[in-house]
């Protein structure tokens, strides 16, 4: 960004060229990985890699604002949306690899390579030998961000406002379609459930299996999941209290049931 080069034709610096040869293969690998992945989430992650590399390209081509936006909006927001959609589908979903048309895959690969070659060749032919000029001028006064903002809020104002209105409307439409509206009060929310639990007979969480405690004295031994006594937990040098027996896991019939507390976890009598 030195000022001596403001009016000259833009030269690709060695740093930019180096960054291109690093980021280019990464972007390409991401794209190919996305197509080849069987798992949908893996596909999405490869796409994230491509998007990140594109952000890097914008940075090295002196469009830092576009680069940051690429990362915040595409890699951040839109790909997270993709991930959520894929998680809606579930993990077990993968592509079927059964060919419905014979030779379909070979034909697709050949045609794809051919098309890529055609487009790439055309673009290379059209852009080789073209000198880029004017980058330094457009970024000169106040930098890249200010230049974009100035254009956006003067010359392209109408397009900007209309596009944003269109985009918002479309997005909200898609959002509302996915939303199921409940009448207020028709379903208990987290607040109602929380209040009901506090006011109910059992404000605390339900007991996990095998962890029911009748007391926290050292004389009370711990119980294993089947209700028998964990021998390791017996304290030495004192008379242990007989543990309560648990058969069905319900606390109400705790004192009515007796089980063989002399058996350990594997049912072997001790």
């Amino acid at each position: 960004m030195s000022h001596a080069a403001v009016l000259a034709a833009d030269v690709v610096s060695s740093g930019e060229a180096g960054a291109f040869w690093v980021l280019g293969p990464i972007a390409l690998a991401g794209a190919i990985g996305m197509v080849l992945s069987r798992n949908a989430i893996h596909s999405a992650l490869w796409l994230v890699l491509t998007m990140l590399s594109l952000g890097g390209f914008y940075f090295v081509q002196q469009a830092p604002f576009l680069g940051a936006v690429q990362i915040i909006v595409y890699t951040g927001a839109i790909m997270i949306l993709f991930l959520f959609v894929l998680m809606l589908v579930g993990r077990d979903y993968s592509d079927s690899i059964v060919e419905t048309l014979r030779g379909q895959r070979v034909a697709a690969i050949l045609l794809g390579i051919g098309f890529a070659g055609l487009v790439g060749g055309l673009i290379a032919d059209a852009t080789s030998g073209v000198e880029s000029v004017g980058l330094a001028e457009s970024n000169a006064d106040g930098g890249n961000v200010a230049a974009i903002a100035r254009l956006l809020f003067t010359d392209y104002l109408l397009a900007f406002e209309l596009t944003s209105a269109l985009l918002i409307t479309a997005a909200v439409g898609a959002m509302i379609l996915a939303h199921i509206e409940h009448e207020s009060g028709s379903r208990p929310g987290q607040k109602e459930q929380s209040i009901a639990r506090i006011k109910g007979p059992r404000p605390q969480t339900l007991t996990g299996p095998g962890v029911f405690a009748r007391g926290n004295s050292v004389a009370a031994p711990a119980l294993l999941p089947d209700g028998s006594v964990a021998e390791d937990s017996r304290a030495t040098g004192m008379k242990m209290r007989q543990p309560p027996a648990i058969a069905s896991g319900s606390i109400d019939d705790l004192d009515d049931v007796t089980v063989d507390s002399g058996a350990n976890r594997d049912g072997v009598p001790t």
Partner: protein, 447 residues
């Protein structure tokens, strides 16, 4: 003054370093971040301990000073568990994705003015870009992936729920955070962090009641609403209490990192604390004057030159960490619907409204020759009085029936619960202190 002005870097000062200066800076950033992380963990445990009438860690090293280092080393010796149901490549990658953006965000944080390192004059900041602050936002957007993928790849229910919660939470509060920063850009006219620090050097002149004085330059004072929204949003963004729903221990075991162990767990831990440090540093940069000395110290001429600013900067970061800890020790965890409601129905609308209010005030003060201080005086104070009057005169809600009325008497065989009218005896140190004080008073009388 010209000497001092030359000390504060501008965008043109960046990108001209020789390679060994860059190496020193990169190593320095890692050293600073790791040191601050180790310090923050210990500091948090010590402060929470004090707030809970405990001493905190005091075994390893002098006064427990090496506790977090010992914890970190211990993690390196733990078995690295790869659950059988995990999606292996992503399970492996997720902690790296969480940790890398965390320290990358620190690259645009200004730590000090231009200093001389071995004769080379260079700003104490790795780099600065015209889109400086956006880099931090981009990094926090990338950090979401680490958490979502960790939960998904673990192949377990608790992590999956934790990661989904976390992602929804982070994206909600990221919006509020982004919107709160817009007003700062509005005032500073730039997105580069060094430029924002420079813009806070001195405030505009304020005249109130016929007196002229220099207003404060810190955006925390100029833009208090932005500052408050930012502070709340980053607590949600870093998944810290009272917004630590993604790892709510009582519900989700450990949240997204339940299945992680050893170094991978350490990376998540590191990422969380580095994120705390980064958002504190960004708060200092955007709202608290950056590395510039706070008021009483700034009277001293040399306070903002040389290496001294590093001290003020780290002091501000530690202040941020202290607030994080304080919140954690004080506030209970929110319910998820409360949390989301607060984010979308309070923070985002208020942030949008505030941007328009600030912009309107700027236009008024510039084009219609109102002074910003006048506007604050003639509009702000009546609004404040009105708000306070409404809050004061608002009818109190009838109190809900107490919990005690709703709970039936405990039956035999149910969980042992303490009686609801339990009277807690005063703590022994208090009794002892009162007794000593009474004895002293009594002794004084006798003498």
């Amino acid at each position: 003054m010209s000497n001092l002005a030359a000390e504060s870097p501008t965008l043109a000062d960046f990108g001209t370093d020789v390679w060994w200066i860059i190496v020193i800076k990169v190593v320095g950033i890692f050293a600073l971040l790791v040191a601050l992380t180790l310090f923050a963990i210990l500091f948090e445990r010590k402060v929470v301990g004090r707030m809970q009438q405990r001493i905190g860690p005091n075994r390893v090293g002098p006064r427990g000073g090496l506790q977090s280092l010992a914890d970190g080393l211990k993690l390196a010796f733990k078995e690295d568990i790869m659950p059988a149901l995990a999606d292996k490549p992503i399970y492996f990658l997720a902690p790296v994705i969480a940790a890398v953006p965390a320290f990358l965000a620190f690259s645009v944080i200004p730590i000090g003015p231009i200093v001389s390192i071995f004769g080379e004059r260079t700003p104490l900041q790795l780099t600065d870009l015209p889109v400086g602050v956006l880099i931090v936002l981009a990094c926090s957007a990338m950090g979401v992936y680490g958490i979502v993928l960790a939960g998904w790849a673990s192949g377990s229910t608790y992590p999956l729920l934790g990661s989904l919660r976390s992602a929804a939470q982070m994206i909600s509060y990221e919006i509020a955070m982004g919107l709160s920063i817009v007003a700062v850009f509005l005032y500073a006219g730039t997105m580069s962090t060094s430029g924002i620090v420079e813009a806070q050097e001195s405030g505009s002149e304020v005249s109130a009641f016929g007196l002229n004085f220099d207003g404060p330059g810190w955006y925390a004072v100029v833009l208090p609403v932005s500052f408050i929204i930012y502070c709340i949003a980053v607590v949600g963004e870093t998944n810290r209490a009272p917004f630590d729903l993604p790892e709510a221990e009582s519900e989700l075991v450990g949240g997204f990192h339940t299945e992680y162990s050893s170094l991978k767990f350490a990376l998540f831990y590191l990422a969380e604390y580095i994120n705390m440090v980064t958002v504190s540093a960004l708060a200092a940069t955007l709202f608290l004057g950056g590395w510039r000395a706070p008021w009483p110290i700034s009277i001293w001429d040399g306070a903002n030159s040389g290496w001294w600013p590093v001290l003020w900067f780290i002091g501000k970061v530690i202040l941020g960490l202290f607030v994080f800890t304080w919140l954690r020790a004080t506030l209970p965890r929110m319910r998820y619907d409360q949390f989301m409601r607060f984010g979308w129905k309070v923070l985002v609308p208020v942030a949008l409204l505030w941007i328009l209010v600030v912009a309107t005030m700027r236009v008024l003060s510039r084009e219609y020759d109102f002074n910003a201080g006048d506007i604050a005086l003639y509009v702000g104070i009546p609004v404040l009085v009105l708000v306070m009057a409404v809050v004061w005169l608002w009818p109190d809600k009838a109190p809900d029936p107490t919990v005690k009325e709703g709970v039936p008497p405990t039956t035999r065989g149910a969980f042992p619960t303490p009686p609801l009218d339990l009277v807690v005896p005063p703590s022994p140190p208090l009794i002892k202190r009162d007794a000593v004080a009474a004895g002293k008073r009594g002794g004084g009388k006798r003498a």
